[in-house]
């Protein structure tokens, strides 16, 4: 055990300290160069490590995946666009696309709306109360996807009438109101919404934490001036706070959108994509790892990143505008 502890400490020092030493050393080296060369080279010292890692860990696998999406199920012979044609002609493939679109509309919007409302409201409470309240919303973030699916089984669980007491909270309440128990996760198409609720529950904390730190870094004088001028809290939120944090709202919205677009765990664990709940990311995993159809799985993956390109363009435009304003 103590040996293990020592290893861990050495690993931490090497891992954490090493990277700083690397940047510091590289900057020193560049300083020794003539001024013009140093000026031209220094930006690459700053971005170089990031670009190198991204190339190895994301660009190379992405290219690999694109190539694979034009190959057959064993990843060998070329099949042209067959995999893509299959996705769009298959009823399940089209359903996955429709469901995924619903996910990326519903989840980010609700998570950001609730997270923002909570951040604004909690900001008006005392400091300690606020910290406690925010911790509650944040709590689900600390639970892994597998943990989350256990948590929600105790909400959605279903037992037909006469097969024992309900162990799912929702059915207990539903029965208490005089209804028959419902198999929530099997009832199409609403089961999609019930699964989305899990994701909203998990990610509202993310939105809340980031938005709250944006709200708190707003200049106090501006808010105070508006208050002196007699603005109501409602007006202040819509006319001052929201416009001032709009860039952060966009970032959070985009981030959650992308996370939601890629998340497969919830559907995979809760329904396995059955009962009309299949989504693109879950298809990708199922095709690739369960059905061992590498080409089709890769095609679903390519679909994932092509679909997000418009959002990325939008974001880049926004960053350009931000630069021009400075």
């Amino acid at each position: 055990m103590s040996n293990q502890l020592l290893q861990v400490i050495i690993a931490l020092v090497v891992g954490v300290g090493g990277i700083w030493l690397l940047y510091w050393g590289a900057d020193r080296l560049v300083n020794m160069l003539p001024l013009r060369a140093a000026t031209a080279l220094r930006p690459w010292v700053f971005v170089g490590p990031a670009l190198l890692l991204l190339t190895v860990y994301l660009v190379y696998p992405a290219i690999n995946t694109i190539v694979l999406s034009f190959r057959d199920r064993r990843g060998q012979g070329w099949v042209g666009f067959d995999n893509y044609v299959d996705i769009f002609s298959d009823e399940n493939g089209r359903l996955a696309i429709r469901n995924s679109i619903a996910w990326v509309v519903v989840v980010p919007v609700l998570a950001v709306a609730i997270g923002l409302a909570f951040a604004v409201l909690a900001d008006k409470l005392g400091r300690r109360t606020e910290a406690a309240a925010k911790s509650v919303i944040f709590l689900p973030m600390a639970i892994s996807f597998v943990g989350a699916s256990i948590v929600w089984r105790f909400i959605y669980n279903f037992r037909p009438e006469g097969f024992g007491e309900q162990t799912g909270l929702l059915n207990a309440i539903w029965q208490g109101l005089g209804n028959n128990p419902v198999a929530w996760l099997l009832s199409e198409p609403w089961n999609n919404l019930y699964l989305m609720v899990i994701m909203i529950w998990l990610y509202t904390g993310f939105a809340m934490v980031v938005l709250s730190s944006a709200i708190k870094s707003l200049p106090g004088e501006v808010l105070e001036a508006a208050r002196v001028d007699g603005a109501t809290e409602w007006q202040m939120f819509w006319r001052i706070v929201l416009p001032m944090i709009s860039s952060t709202v966009m970032v959070v919205l985009t981030t959650i959108l992308i996370i939601v677009w890629k998340v497969f765990d919830i559907v995979f664990v809760m329904t396995g994509g059955e009962f009309g709940t299949t989504i693109v990311a879950e298809r990708m995993i199922t095709e690739f790892f369960t059905f061992r159809n590498q080409g089709r799985g890769a095609a679903f993956a390519v679909l994932l990143f092509v679909a997000v390109l418009p959002f990325m363009t939008l974001n880049i435009r926004r960053f350009r505008a931000q630069e021009e304003m400075r």
Binding site: Y23, Y57, T65, R128, S144, V308
Partner: protein, 334 residues
């Protein structure tokens, strides 16, 4: 952390006093007085409506976790036969409660070891992407170089590459290198199974989001501040470490906590690159073993889930006060 007092605490602790809020939740005293809302809380809204809405949302969010917590203290037979909320009907009944689940989880082979392993994976896998992304975000914002916009667009675009699709190509790279027409471009490094392999993988996967979020924040720092540092003779390295990094504390802290959570809760990357041997097993793997050897053991899984949540929550509470930096409050955002 998840009992009923928390919700009541939300209401009871309104008057800035620590009463009604558990000490573990509260921030350390004497930090960042700016955190408290400068104006009297909710002059136009009134305190009670705000407190009530916050309490309602908080209660809704707490219910599922409360179910998890209660279940983790119930004997197996009861978990399967009745709802967790039924315990509230007979709170004093000792036969409704047990610590056995926690004993079973902690006694299961090498749980302490797996905690250390998780720590050795998670801390560098959090610090590395943040450091590398911060340097890159600074360069993308405040330095001039050819292809700056295009490269940044590419970095952000990489956010959408699904992690699962990267695992197999990277694994091949780790075990047999990379050759173009038989010429080794990247040699066979035999990285697989080492901590470095996992750190670098998590760093690569976390970089796009980190760069994106940090670039957004660093880009909102006023130009005048950076220019004045330059006038004072500070080079880029000094400006970055002495000015930009401290000013970016809130976003660094926010991202740190999320990256920490993602890595801590990750099973897939650790499984692929570190392997499942008992001596290198991380917490999520240990949990999976627990379930794997006993079938759908919900009573154990719930207890295990709570044990594995402890450290992330400690990190969250200790970072919470950095979410608002004393320096930025009122000085930076334009």
């Amino acid at each position: 952390m998840t009992d009923v007092t928390t919700t009541t605490g939300v209401v009871a602790g309104l008057d800035d006093e620590p009463t009604g809020v558990q000490p573990g939740k509260a921030e350390p005293p004497g930090t960042t007085p700016e955190t408290a809302s400068p104006a009297s809380p909710g002059r136009a809204w009134g305190r009670w409506p705000v407190a009530v809405s916050v309490s309602i949302i908080a209660a809704l969010w707490l219910v599922p976790t409360l179910g998890l917590l209660v279940t983790s203290f119930r004997p197996r037979e009861l978990v399967d036969s009745s709802g967790w909320w039924t315990v509230f009907a007979h709170l004093g009944d000792g036969s409704q409660w047990t610590l056995q689940n926690y004993r079973d989880v902690l006694d299961a082979g090498g749980f302490g070891n797996s905690f250390l392993n998780s720590l050795a994976v998670t801390v560098p896998a959090t610090v590395l992407p943040i450091t590398i992304a911060a340097f890159a975000a600074y360069a993308f914002t405040w330095m001039e170089f050819p292809g700056r916009q295009v490269l940044f667009a590419a970095v952000v675009g990489l956010m959408v590459v699904p992690l699962q699709m990267s695992l197999i190509p990277i694994l091949q790279l780790y075990t047999s290198g990379f050759r173009v027409a038989g010429i080794p471009i990247i040699p066979d490094l035999n990285l697989n199974g080492t901590l470095l392999a996992v750190w670098l993988a998590h760093t690569g996967f976390g970089l796009p989001l980190a760069t994106y979020m940090l670039r957004n924040y660093i880009g909102s720092l006023p130009r005048s501040l950076i220019e004045s540092a330059k006038v004072d003779g500070a080079g880029h390295f000094t400006t970055f470490t002495r000015l930009v990094l401290p000013l970016s504390t809130p976003i660094l802290a926010s991202f740190a906590i999320f990256q920490f959570l993602w890595v801590w809760n990750d099973l897939l990357v650790a499984l692929v690159f570190l392997g499942g041997e008992p001596d290198v097993r991380v917490v999520t793997q240990a949990l999976r073993e627990l379930n794997g050897s006993r079938g759908q053991a919900w009573h154990l899984l719930t207890a295990g889930a709570f044990v594995s949540m402890v450290l992330p929550l400690v990190v969250f509470f200790s970072l919470q006060r950095y979410f608002v930096s004393g320096l930025t409050a009122g000085a930076v955002k334009e």
